[in-house]
Amino acid sequence: MAELVLTKHRNVAGIERLEVYEQHGGYSALRKALTEMQPSQITDLVIKANLRGRGGAGFPAGRKWSFLPKDPDLAKYLLCNADEGTPGAFNNRLLMEFNPHQLIEGCMIASYAIGAKHAFILIRGEYEHARKRLQAAVDEAYAKGYLGAGVLGTPYKLDMLVQRGAGSYEVGEETALIECMEGSRGQPRQRPPFPAIKGLYQKPTVVNNVETLCNVPHIVNNGAEWFLAIGSPSCPGTKVFSISGNVKNPENYEAPMGTTFRELIEIAGGMEDPKHGLKALMLGSEPPILPAFQQDTPADIDAVAKIGSALGAGAMIVLDDRQCIIDFTLRATQFFAHESCGKCTPCREGCPWMSKVLQRIEAGLGRMEDIDLLADIANNMAGKSLCALGEFATGPILSSVKYFREDYERHINGYACHMPRELMAAGV
């Protein structure tokens, strides 16, 4: 078993309490950062460790920090993205629920590195248990002088606030997250300006994912060389994979970046029913679907990108041969139709249109030209919206048309699986 980093203390009773967290080495990285390191040294260390964003984009976190203006009089903010909404992703929830202080420590070190005096954690509205855990931990950190004026007796001052989202996938996009934090509709902004220049309250802002920030204390404690030795050369560290669907033991599993999907399925106990083999993997609803023959691909950001998909947030929905790819493509597309914020026309109109076409194919009412129609709509959406949602919605469609065209043809030729509930209700 490879070394666990983020979930090492998962079974330690009471680790959510500051005292127990500290007994297991907690807040030693913060102490080291505040007393032995300059802010710029921390940023350099994180750049050297090549810590890449765990939320999906994979952008190097340290470089993101380095884009902020250095003016000490300018207000700057850290905004932690805890709006985990990718279908099949539940690793941020685990990290916040079982060890909230690890995230708080990561936020504090990142805030110190960028010179922020305010840090915000925006957590999705549905994660009430995690939010309460996190809030209790923040309260505890304030009570013991870890937050507020004079952090750990140093001149550094930091306030931290946990804010609750209210049900919107789109808010996971960083500029929409900023809008939500400001009390507005969670719709994306045009870039530039990028958040590093004009973000929250029009001030320089770093937006980082929960898992990204949880890695920071470990890098500060153990150094860049240690981090670089774990995982893939271009994508170091571990990843907490959320494995669900047709595996025996659906759960979060931490493994080095670059562990193959086949190995990850084994880690999750193998297939749910040994009589039914792997048909496909969905890495959330956004990335192009991986057919079974790609299961030996290393699960790291670059290797998955190389085969035309995306590692995303580390979700892995395992589908066995009982599942219908058209049905799952339809469900993913309905999700995007529901979650499109409506700001950009290609996404707002394209998602429901593709959804309708898929619905009729799944119901056995499709036409052969619908397959190319789907690809055509998708190709006219990609790259034509302010944020990536319009792009994401094309992933399952284009990949299923590419790899599972026969399934489409079979449905159209009179062998559709079943009528979706919506059509039955509509009496089609």
């Binding site: 909404g85 279908p87 994660y127 209210a166 959320s242 669907g245 395992v318 589908l319």
Partner: protein
Amino acid sequence: MSSAVLSETTRNRITELTGRYPHPRSALLPSLYLVQEEKGFVSEESMAEVGDLLHLTAADVKSVASFYTMFFKKPVGRHLVEICTNLACKARNCDAVVAHVCKALNVELGGATADGRFTVEEVECLGQCEFAPMIEIDLEPLGPLNTPEKIDAALAKYT
């Protein structure tokens, strides 16, 4: 301003919230949660009142409240049943959960039971996929609900 519909306590808590942020507008979502906590849903009148307290127009408040699915614009049942039908639950046959819950409670998705006990909604992934197929009742995750008996037992706990 029309007469107040919110309690003094809620009004005070909303005013207090504004001081927590670099910009008071950030208090809007927490304020709407406070309204919902008191009233069970977010009415036109209460949105206008929140607007007065935060110095925002009623239209502005409504545009925000209507964007987010967790704010109810009309009264809901005493308990909220949310059935996840997204990918991970689908792979574990959430369709059977939807069918059984609707039949057992004699309700359609999006509707409330006649006795006002439950509102039942279909929702997107709740991020609890290790419990698939799962539902949440009042945001408490319950699963895996892979037999009708388990679903009945889960529902029976809420009166």
